[in-house]
């Protein structure tokens, strides 16, 4: 604490904000090198600060650190401060946000090099870093909400980065609007918190909850927790609000990696973990969280199995993995959820960046049916992506194995039969995950090449080159953050490969901080987070034989290997089998490729009635009838009166005199007969 004044906490969000201001205001005039220098500098500095913070807090043995910059809202009986606080949970989140964020910034310099609006991209990216740091550092619900909305804004801006493309603009709007639904829940939860606690400060609320053991399962706590869950389902793309995330892939790939895989979408999980004191008191809310998580996990995984767009597979995989984290939180195993959040940030960012590298190599191709055989052409991308695939598939000793296994173990050992059912769901999902990831792996890197290098790529490369010279780059239909300088298939430049290598190393070793005791580890992450989740520790400390844990781990590894084997047979050994199976189960396949028609359902049963209501009632009756009508009536009235008044200026002296006489007579009449009117009073 002595080594680092708490006020330095303010630098962590404010530095990226400064970067945003510089790039946002001056970026248009600055050369690209200067823009990238600003963007990298103002994200590297917070990352260094976080590392320093971590070191000093560890050395001092300090658990928490907070900084209060004075009151923000102050009215009688209610007060919110501009206050930041850091504890172990925040520290992990900060590490992910600034560390992975910085790595992705480096990658973006290479990936976006040929893009129009370079400065705009980095300004938005820095803005996102600012809001995300505010979100995780906030010491109150209200400040968290500021960050929460801010990252939503940055996400909207970046999804719609290619705003001249209708699909990208629509995807941005969709993300924004779907998130608003969740935010309503969050807002209502805050209102309830103010009503019951008179405060929005984390410490005060959690202390108050701690002092009232009789509130166990209290109805208002359940209501608050469920409303918070609604908010979390929006931000973290869970059923029923997950639909925006797959569409968010319209944004540039580094954005998908940073915002829609590693950081922003985990804000919901962070929020649930942060409020675990509330959730622990509400078994119903916890069960809801667990069920939503498990359902989303298997639902999204099943869709991911049949997608052809490489980024969409990863998007559904993200939804599915977020479901795992929800499941962990719902089981009260918050530490396991945060552990998975950490490892997922590594390997999913890696997978997205590697996918971006593949897309770059193929000059903008995203369809996996037109890939293949890239193993030898882009070796570094292949090796790094393999690390990510093995990690997410849960093959030991890669990162994903430990975190996913921890979640499954915690689910299995939780009291009650619900845990066993959800464990089974999680296990099946693990198999599906392994299948669709290896499917992606085989289709992309193995087998014959399905792209026509001579004609296709060369033409496209030349075409993109031509566009890059003009200002028409963004108008082109296939310019999705796509590399503009493809001369055939080629490996990406080092500035894109370096982040891949770093993240690959983290994806391999990242799980080793949470090796459970049964496998000879210390599960450091759980003991690291124990001070934060102390109340949840009892449930996690159920004595269970190490044998059970190892047994469950073996089961899940076998399931993952089964997924690998099926993918191997289908997509490497006998590719013709797939068509036969699809033929035999047409209905099921249609269900999956059409994503269970959820978008259509929402479109027809929610969006369409709403549109009809707004167009028919609000627009036709209220907007045009009441608002425009009253304005028009006022205008017509004035006009009519003016017409009448103008008629009086006739130039006819006798009519003027007549009016004068009538007026004088009226004045006289009032003076004579109207006298009684004011005399009496």
């Amino acid at each position: 604490m002595n080594a680092m004044p708490a006020s330095y906490l303010w630098l962590i969000p404010l530095l990226p904000f400064a970067g945003f201001l510089i790039n946002g205001t001056l970026g248009r005039r600055l050369p690209r090198a200067a823009v990238s220098a600003v963007a990298l500098l103002f994200t590297a500095a917070p990352a260094a600060l976080v590392a320093w913070l971590w070191a000093t807090m560890r050395a001092a043995g300090e658990l928490t650190m907070s900084s209060d910059a004075g009151p923000w809202i102050q009215i009688t009986g209610f007060r919110v401060d501009f206050a930041f606080t850091v504890d172990h949970l925040t520290l992990i989140m900060l590490g992910v946000v600034t560390g992975v964020g910085f790595i992705i910034h480096i990658y973006s310099v290479g990936y976006m090099a040929e893009e129009e609006g370079y400065w705009r991209f980095f300004a938005y990216l820095n803005l996102f870093m600012f809001f995300m740091s505010v979100l995780v550092l906030a010491a109150s619900f209200l400040l968290l909400f500021v960050g929460w909305e801010g990252v939503g804004l940055a996400s909207y801006l970046l999804i719609g980065f290619y705003f001249r493309k209708t699909s990208a603009a629509n995807a941005g709007k969709k993300a924004f609007l779907v998130n608003r639904i969740g935010d309503v829940g969050f807002l209502l939860a805050m209102f309830l918190l103010v009503a019951h606690f008179g405060s929005l400060d984390f410490t005060q609320i959690f202390a108050a909850v701690g002092q009232h053991p009789e509130w166990q399962g209290a109805r208002f706590l359940t209501a608050i927790a469920l409303l918070l869950v609604l908010g979390a389902t929006g931000k973290s793309a869970q059923i029923p609000l997950y639909v925006w995330l797959p569409d968010a892939m319209e944004g540039p790939t580094p954005v998908s990696a940073l915002i829609h895989a590693a950081t922003m979408v985990t804000a919901g999980i962070y929020m649930v973990a942060r409020c675990h004191t509330l959730f622990d008191r509400s078994p119903i809310a916890l069960a809801v969280v667990a069920c939503i998580g498990a359902a989303t996990a298997i639902f999204a995984a099943s869709i991911g199995m049949v997608q052809h767009d490489i980024k969409r597979v990863l998007a559904y995989s993200t939804v599915s993995q977020l479901g795992y984290m929800f499941l962990a939180c719902g089981m009260g195993a918050y530490a396991a959820g945060i552990f998975h959040l950490l490892t997922h940030a590594f390997f999913k960012a890696l997978l997205f960046l590697a996918a971006g590298s593949v897309i770059h190599a193929l000059g903008g191709e995203q369809d996996m049916r037109r890939m293949g055989g890239l193993r030898t052409r882009t070796p570094i991308t292949f090796w790094t992506m393999s690390a990510g695939v093995f990690a997410i598939a849960g093959i030991p000793p890669f990162a994903g194995f430990f975190s996913k296994d921890e979640i499954l173990y915690q689910t299995f050992t939780s009291p009650g039969s619900l845990g066993k059912v959800l464990w089974l769901v999680g296990l099946v999902t693990a198999g599906m995950t392994s299948f669709y990831m290896f499917r992606l792996w085989f289709k992309t890197f193995f087998g014959p090449a399905h792209f026509d290098e001579q004609r296709d790529l060369h033409d496209r490369g030349a075409a993109v080159h031509l566009q890059a010279g003009t200002h028409a780059v963004m108008v082109a239909d296939r310019d999705e953050g796509r590399a503009a300088h493809s001369h055939g298939v080629h490996e990406s430049p080092w500035i894109m490969l370096l982040p891949l290598v770093i993240l690959a190393i983290l994806s391999v070793i990242g799980g080793w901080v949470g090796v459970p005791a049964a496998m000879g580890g210390h599960n450091e992450i759980e003991s690291f987070l124990a001070p934060v989740f102390s109340s949840g520790a009892e449930s996690a400390a159920i004595p269970a034989g190490g044998g059970l844990e190892i047994g469950l781990a073996i089961v899940s590894v076998l399931v993952a290997l089964a997924g690998f084997y099926v993918a191997y047979v289908f997509y490497y050994k006998k590719p013709e089998m797939v068509a036969a199976i699809v033929d035999r189960h047409k209905a099921a396949y249609a269900l999956l490729t059409n994503k269970y028609w959820v978008d259509e359902f929402y479109g027809n049963f929610l969006v369409l009635p709403l549109l009809m209501f707004t167009r028919g009632v609000l627009d036709l009756i209220f907007e045009r009838g009441v608002v425009n009508g009253s304005a028009r009536a006022a205008a017509m009235g004035t006009r009519g009166f003016a017409w009448f008044a103008r008629k009086q200026i006739s130039g006819n002296i006798r009519s003027y005199a007549g009016w004068l006489a009538i007026g004088a007579a009226a004045v006289l009449a009032v003076m004579i007969f109207g006298r009684s009117l004011w005399v009496r009073s």
Binding site: R646, I649, S650, G651, N652, I653, R654, A657, G658, A661
Partner: protein
């Protein structure tokens, strides 16, 4: 002694005749005469009240009014002649250039 009210009634009648003539007649000179009629109706009330209160100021004021009216008549007649020279008419309804 004639009561003051009689004078006032007479003045009111004269004034009303003046107003009516002003509104009805089209000839500028007739209108001019009706204005003089109204002025003198007012003069009559001045004199009547001055007599009633035994005050000389009302009577003196009437002289002022008559002097001003004489000057006004001179200017007014000059304007009327000027109008007749330019427009060859004395009908006020045709003198309507000052309108929108």
């Amino acid at each position: 002694m004639v009561p003051t009210a009689y004078y006032l009634v007479l003045a009111a009648i004269l004034f009303s005749i003046g107003v009516a003539a002003f509104l009805i007649k089209r000839n500028v000179i007739t209108i001019f005469i009706s204005i003089e009629l109204m002025l003198n109706a007012v003069n009559l009330t001045f004199v009547a009240f001055a007599h009633m209160w035994n005050q000389i100021s009302g009577q003196i004021f009437v002289f002022f009014v008559m002097v001003v009216a004489a000057a006004e008549a001179a200017v007014g007649l000059a304007i009327i002649i000027s109008i007749f020279r330019t427009r060859q008419t004395l009908n006020v309804d045709e003198i309507d250039l000052m309108k929108l």
